[in-house]
Each structure stands twice: as C-alpha cells, then as structure tokens.
C-alpha cells in the first residue's frame, strides 16, 4: 500500500512539474484567443501587408482590423509595394504555390517579428475573454520591415477593458486580475468559518 501511495505521489509531482497538454485544454481552463492589430498600417498606403504562416494562414491581406490565426502557427507579416502585387492572383493559387511565392518573391519584405496564435489558458471562471496585441510599424523600406509591440488590450466578460503598454519587447504585460469583494467572501471567509467549526469540534472532544 505504501508503495502505491509513494508511486502515485511521485507520478502526481512529475505531472505537476511538467504540465504538457499540447493542443488539449487543461481541465477547468479556457483558452484566451490572441488577436493582433497594426496601429499605423494606414500610414503606408503604398504597401500591401500580408500575414503568412505555417501551417496557416496561407496568406491574409491585412488592414487596420484585428486578425488572428491558428494557435500553433508561426506567422510573419510581409510588406509588398502595391505596384508589385495583385491579391486576386494569389487567391487563385494552391497552398504549395503560395508557399513558393513567399519563399522566392524578392520584392517581399519580411518583418522582424514572429507572431504566435495563443495568448494563454486561464481558469474557466476568469473574467478575461480576449487579448489583442497592438503592433506598430517602426520603419519600412525596400529591405526591412520593423514592427514593434506597442500595447496589450484585454477584454473582460463584464465589458471592461485594460490597456497596458509594453515595457520591453520580450515580456507581454499581464492583465491585472484581482478578486472582487464577493469573491474574497467566498474564498477566504467560508474556509475560515469552517476551520473555526473544526477547531471547536476537536477542542470539545478533549
């Protein structure tokens, strides 16, 4: 019996130390979709901006609206002079031809930033519903497209929003998630009351 307990405990610790759920959502959690939006895309009317990733999207013409993609995709943004590109042509090609287009087209200007499709998983009861990363084009010329992360916008189930600026490019600023007064009552007061009753029962026995 002791062996079973020890083995079970070790197994639980191993699972706890390396929670690897891959494409599966951990029980009791929900996945927060991550959207992107390029803040100043309208300042470059002479360019088309395209999102291309593996395995998807094969390509997407970007505008000032939010865009998203499959959570496990690796996506880059590309710019192409308006005179060099007709979106309709690309729409009629299959995935292999589109991949070749993105690999071989010398006019394409690839961004410095690799985008990921998932923000995070949070407990199901979390009020957070959506995250939007606001990007900004810092510079664009014939050779390079430099994009930086400007802000995170968080949308909550109660209709509120939080906008938080990036302090450094490597770290995504997290939403401020604090329990409300009613939640404190449930999470802290009820356990304290129950503990009080248990202490009373144990002392009464003695």
């Amino acid at each position: 019996m002791k062996r079973i307990l020890v083995l079970s405990f070790i197994l639980m610790l191993v699972l706890a130390a390396s929670p690897c759920w891959g494409d599966i959502i951990e029980p009791g959690t929900k996945e927060i979709p991550l959207y992107y939006q390029i803040d100043n895309i309208d300042s470059y009317p002479d360019f088309f901006f395209l999102a291309h990733g593996i395995p998807s999207p094969s390509f997407e013409v970007l505008n000032s609206s939010e865009f998203s993609f499959y959570k496990l995709s690796m996506v880059y943004i590309y710019a192409l002079p308006e005179s060099e590109f007709n979106p309709l042509e690309l729409e009629n090609r299959d995935d292999a031809q589109i991949n070749t287009f993105f690999q071989n087209n010398t006019k394409l200007i690839k961004s410095n930033l690799e985008l990921s499709g998932s923000f995070d998983t949070v407990p199901e009861a979390d009020k957070l519903e959506k995250a939007v990363m606001i990007l900004e084009i810092d510079s664009l010329n014939d050779n390079e497209l430099v994009i930086s992360k400007k802000q995170m916008k968080y949308y909550f189930a109660d209709g509120t929003q939080q906008v938080i600026d990036f302090q450094n490019q490597a770290t995504i600023p997290q939403p401020l998630n604090t329990p409300g007064p009613g939640e404190y009552l449930f999470y802290i007061l009820i356990p304290l009351l129950a503990l009080g009753v248990i202490i009373f029962i144990i002392r009464k026995r003695k």
Binding site: M1, K2, L5, S8, F9, M12, L13, L15, A16, P19, I25, E26, P27, G28, T29, T121, V122, P123, E124, A125, D126, N177, T178, P179, G182, E183, F186, Y187, I188, I190, P191, L193, A194, L195, V197, I198, I201, I202
Partner: protein
Amino acid sequence: MPNLLLFFLTIALEFILIQFMIKSPLKKIFLYIILINCITWPLANFLYFYFIKNWVMVEVMVFIGEGFLIKQLFEIKYPRAFLISFILNAVTSITGYLIHLIDIWIYLR
C-alpha cells in the same frame, strides 16, 4: 466565481465514497465532509485562479490538506487518512476531468 455545482458534486461523491472506508454515523460523516470541503474547495479555487495556474499541483495540495483534516476529524492514523484522501481526490479529479471532456464533446457536436 467557480461553478458551485461542482462543489456540491464533490461533497456528494466524497460522502458516498468515504462511507465505504470509515465506520461512523452518517450525519457525522456528512458534516465533516462539508466542513473539509468548505476549507479546501474555495482555497483550491482561489490558489488556482489567482496564484498557482497548475491544476495537478493544486490537487496535490488539496490531497495533503484533506489528509490532515480527515485524520483530525475522524480520529484515524495518518497513513489511513492520506490513503482515504488520495482515493477521494483521485475520484473527484477524474470525475471533474470527465465532465470537462463531456463539455468539450457537447461543444464540438
């Protein structure tokens, strides 16, 4: 706020299971199971929600916490208390996981 239905389901499951492991009046068992879960369930959700975003780690903490509480309330030895706690929490965890899978299946249908 977490789903309170799961709270009552946890109490019901643990109440049914523990009767097979501990001989004690039903009213007493019911009261103790409610008291134990009134401590561990809200605290586990609080920890998971705001601090430890790791379901398995929180389950381990609940298993340890309930082990101590079962020992004190039912006046049994530690090894037996932890074995009972392990069984109760394993069953409720697996049940919770199955409910989660059923939720996904209904959503995908």
